[in-house]
């Protein structure tokens, strides 16, 4: 993989991770404002949809997830799916952090353990080349980039 392609790949993985986690947190915030569903009647679903689509946070969440989809599509135009898929799971590691900061939710130690597992997995995958079927650690020094950034933010 050329250096240019390497920069492009990591340059797009960052918005993938960021927009996926931001989108989920914003959707979560919006849906919590609407409130828990207590019955599963068509009427209840109707008011749920109405509530969801008149909520600003939900729309921000949808916008964020659309930006995620576009970045995901662009990076897949050259990078391996088996590379992008596990690395984008770093968003699962960012969500507990953002929940803690933005929603003031308590994050359990089990959840932090899961975050650590994800970071370790992402770090391993980024040791393989993003293109051409994972034929070794062609990405070299900066390869820990995404995993390192994600985990660095999580533990700080």
């Amino acid at each position: 993989m050329t250096r240019n392609l390497q920069w492009k790949t990591y340059g797009l993985l960052a918005p993938i991770v960021l927009f996926a986690s931001t989108g989920n947190v914003l959707l979560g915030k919006g849906m919590k404002q609407i409130g828990e569903i207590r019955e599963w009647s068509p009427a209840a679903f109707g008011s749920l949809f109405l509530g969801a689509f008149s909520n600003g946070w939900v729309w921000l969440g949808i916008g964020s997830l659309l930006l995620f989809l576009v970045s995901f599509m662009v990076v897949l135009s050259w990078a391996d799916y088996s590379f992008v898929m596990p690395v984008s799971a770093a968003s699962y590691a960012l969500v507990p952090l953002m929940s803690r900061w933005l929603l003031s939710e308590r994050v359990s130690s089990t959840r932090w353990a899961g975050v650590a597992l994800i970071c370790a997995g992402v770090a391993l995958v980024t040791r393989t080349s993003a293109t051409g079927g994972a034929t070794g650690r062609a990405t070299g020094g900066t390869s820990g980039g995404t995993g390192g950034v994600a985990c660095g933010e999580v533990v700080s």
């Binding site: 392609l5 599963w40 576009v70 995901f72 599509m73 662009v74 897949l76 135009s77 050259w78 391996d80 799916y81 088996s82 590379f83 992008v84 898929m85 596990p86 799971a89 699962y92 590691a93 969500v95 507990p96 359990s108 089990t110 959840r111 353990a113 899961g114 975050v115 650590a116 597992l117 994800i118 970071c119 370790a120 997995g121 992402v122 770090a123 391993l124 995958v125 980024t126 040791r127 393989t128 079927g133 994972a134 034929t135 070794g136 650690r137």
Partner: protein
Amino acid sequence: MRTALFLTLVVLGTSGGELSVSRAMKQLGELQHFSPRSLVNFLGRALRVKWFWTGIALLALGFFSLLALLTWADVSFVIPAAAASYVAGALGAKFLLGERLTPLRWAGIVLVAAGVAVVSIS
């Protein structure tokens, strides 16, 4: 039985959808320039690829199966089970897209899947 069926739909829909989108994007080829114009052009071409729409349909199937499943099953059961889609996706990448997965990449994927499962049960 119903739970197993919907769980299968979630896993197959999600990974099948992403694999199809991946196939469509490979068909388009690498995006070279990041100007707004070439980006719009790229997305426009994507909308004309059959695999892209197959992917969107499968992703929608996976998403709505998940919503349906969540109406009777616990989130703490559903999401860890859906972490299996990382393994399914890796198998699909190998056998359907012909990507070569090194042991290192496999190890990373298994750790990520385990981590996603742990994060969502806690």
